[in-house]
């Protein structure tokens, strides 16, 4: 066809092959799971913190799908986390104590809420969208506060008991079952999200992030795609919230708070957005720093987190993973 066009590259280059082969697993992707496995054996006294890290990683990963991939900027993702948490708590207090089915129900409820609210908020863009997501979460928190008969109001839901996992493994005092349960759920969710981001649908989400106008001009049903991403993300956030309820046997109003929406956003920005693994860096880093700094400097620990975030935003756009990318590229150039 283009025989007359002078120098032709005969075959796609290595760089092109790398783009097309991005869905293949690389060895380095085993790293988070090795760390998580190692943590289980090496730090048996920290398993409660470990479970919370895994749960926040799942929550941050769900946010990455909408924020990092689809470019939907939200400050109200706690709405879905909190919905999942309350659904799991209410189910358990009403006798539905089997954890895995309750997790699925909580995820479905949060996903449905994602569809219902997405139908409204996703019609807006930019700052208006940001405010609407915030308002949804605030309204839910206020509702949970007022519906004391259902949610326990400011006292939260206490006395939750969860049946043994798979009918065999009790949620023990040391948090071993809770940790491995959270790890298994995170692994499944990671596998799912990883498939999604490398699918044609996932690619179209990055297209929406880059230019919704162009996506429309190439025939993409823009609104439906965004809504689907929002719903999947909401369901995953709900599962994370339900995990928190089941592993801590408590739900409080803070699961729906603006503070939590902000915290998960900070975690993701620290790690790096739109990279799938930003959550796996940012959530552990934030949680461990919080744990350690709160011991050293209980009054000002948040200041140090803030300072870290300022440094990241100024000097490492793309978060810690973005920084790692740039260092690796610089090293590669020096070697070549």
């Amino acid at each position: 066809m283009s025989a007359e066009a002078a120098p032709l590259t005969a075959a796609p280059s290595a760089a092109v092959a790398a783009i097309l082969g991005r869905h293949r697993l690389r060895a380095v992707e085993a790293l988070p799971w090795l760390c998580a496995g190692l943590g289980f054996f090496a730090l048996p006294d920290y398993l409660a913190l470990g479970s919370q890290i895994l749960i926040m990683t799942l929550f941050a990963m769900s946010l990455d799908l909408v924020l990092g991939y689809a470019g939907i900027v939200t400050l109200g993702h706690a709405a879905f986390f909190g919905t999942g948490a309350y659904v799991a708590g209410i189910l358990a207090l009403h006798g539905w104590s089997e954890p895995i089915s309750a997790l699925a129900i909580a995820g479905a409820a949060a996903g449905l809420l994602g569809v219902a609210t997405g139908l409204i908020v996703l019609r807006a863009r930019g700052l208006a969208l940001l405010m609407l997501t915030l308002v949804v979460a605030e309204m839910l928190q206020e509702a949970a506060n007022k519906l004391g008969w259902l949610t326990g109001g400011t006292d939260g839901l206490q006395g939750i008991t969860i049946a043994p996992l798979l009918g065999r493994f009790d949620f023990d005092l040391f948090g071993r079952t809770a940790y491995l349960y959270s790890l298994a759920v995170l692994l499944l969710a990671w596998w799912l999200v990883r498939r999604i981001v490398h699918s044609p649908f996932g690619h179209s989400l990055t297209g929406l992030r880059e230019s919704a106008i162009r996506m429309r001009a190439i025939g993409a049903p823009v609104f439906r795609r965004r809504l689907r991403a929002y719903a999947v993300s909401a369901a995953l956030a709900g599962i994370a919230g339900a995990l928190l309820t089941q592993t801590t046997q408590f739900v409080g109003l803070q699961v729906l708070s603006f503070e939590l929406s902000g915290t998960v956003l900070v975690m993701l920005v620290l790690g790096g957005i739109g990279r799938l693994y930003g959550a796996f860096i940012g959530a552990p880093l934030y949680m461990i720093a919080q744990d350690q700094l709160a011991k050293q400097d209980p009054v000002n620990w948040l200041f140090w987190i803030g300072l870290l975030l300022v440094l990241i935003v100024f000097f490492a756009r793309g978060g810690i993973l973005g920084l790692v990318d740039r260092i690796l590229m610089a090293m590669g150039r020096r070697c070549a």
Binding site: P12, S13, A15, V16, I19, L20, H23, I196, H203, R225
Partner: protein, 260 residues
């Protein structure tokens, strides 16, 4: 039922508008435009700034809704269809101001429209790369446009002229029946405009092309017929030599030159 509707799809023009009108903020930007583009035709749409050329494109693509009038694509009335549905009927467009997936590689910029055209873009659980022939088609398209060497580079790192070429590549990837090019060579240095002109001139013969352009070299090189739009209405339509000789066209352009 209108008696003057296109008789049968076979004989229908690739694109037709009748009485297309639109006002924005009380100012008419289209005033009853009757327009007909035959299959495989090469047409230029020219006119002074503010004549409504881009607005006409936006009306055809569905990015603007007309106040009155109708639009047919291949004999089918698409007036009520949203933009994405019109794309499925064969309308493809480029933008006057680059509207690209800036952070994505050149290859990914063409894979997105290819996935949409193949109807696989909604699939969630299969790797995009697993789709047989998708990457090959994208690669072949980039080779044809001389973009292959930049395939792995993010579009935003490309020089402006190359970005204009990606603009066209995305539209061609849709294999449109009607291709609307909104100033494809605008702002491109003349040394780099050659490849854009060649690309347009080398488009398959079954695509009807409407090109909005100020660069008269490009217009005369590509178009067999020219439509002149002035203040939202068709002033005249004819061959390039007819248009060049038309006193009304000269008056419009001279008037504009005198005013500016």
């Amino acid at each position: 039922m209108r008696l003057d509707m296109p008789a049968s799809p076979a004989a229908a023009p690739a694109l037709e508008t009748r009485g297309l009108a639109k006002s924005l903020g009380g100012i008419p930007i289209a005033r009853g435009i009757d327009f007909r583009l035959e299959t495989g035709e090469r047409r230029a749409l020219i006119g002074p700034n503010g004549a409504g050329k881009t607005s006409f494109i936006n009306l055809v693509t569905g990015h603007l809704a007309p106040s009155s009038g109708r639009i047919w694509v291949g004999g089918e009335d698409v007036t009520a269809l949203p933009p994405e549905a019109r794309v499925k009927r064969g309308i493809g467009r480029t933008f006057q101001i680059n509207t690209l997936f800036a952070a994505l590689s050149v290859l990914e910029n063409v894979l997105l429209p290819l996935s949409e055209r193949r109807g696989i873009a909604g699939r969630m659980f299969r790797a995009a790369a697993a789709d047989a022939g998708l990457a090959e088609e994208g690669w072949a398209l980039l080779e044809r446009l001389g973009l292959a060497e930049d395939a792995a580079r993010p579009v935003r790192e490309l020089p402006y002229g190359r970005q204009r070429l990606v603009e066209i590549a995305i539209a061609i990837a849709l294999r449109p029946k009607v291709l609307l090019l909104d100033e494809p060579a605008a702002g491109v240095p003349s040394a780099e405009a050659g490849i854009i002109i060649e690309t347009i001139a080398g488009l398959p013969r079954d695509i009807a092309v409407l090109i909005v352009e100020h660069d008269m070299d490009l217009v005369f090189r590509v178009a067999r017929r020219i439509t002149v739009l002035v203040q939202g209405a068709v002033l005249v339509e004819g061959t390039p030599s007819e248009i060049a000789a038309d006193p009304r066209v000269r008056a419009v352009y001279l008037g504009e030159a005198a005013a500016s």
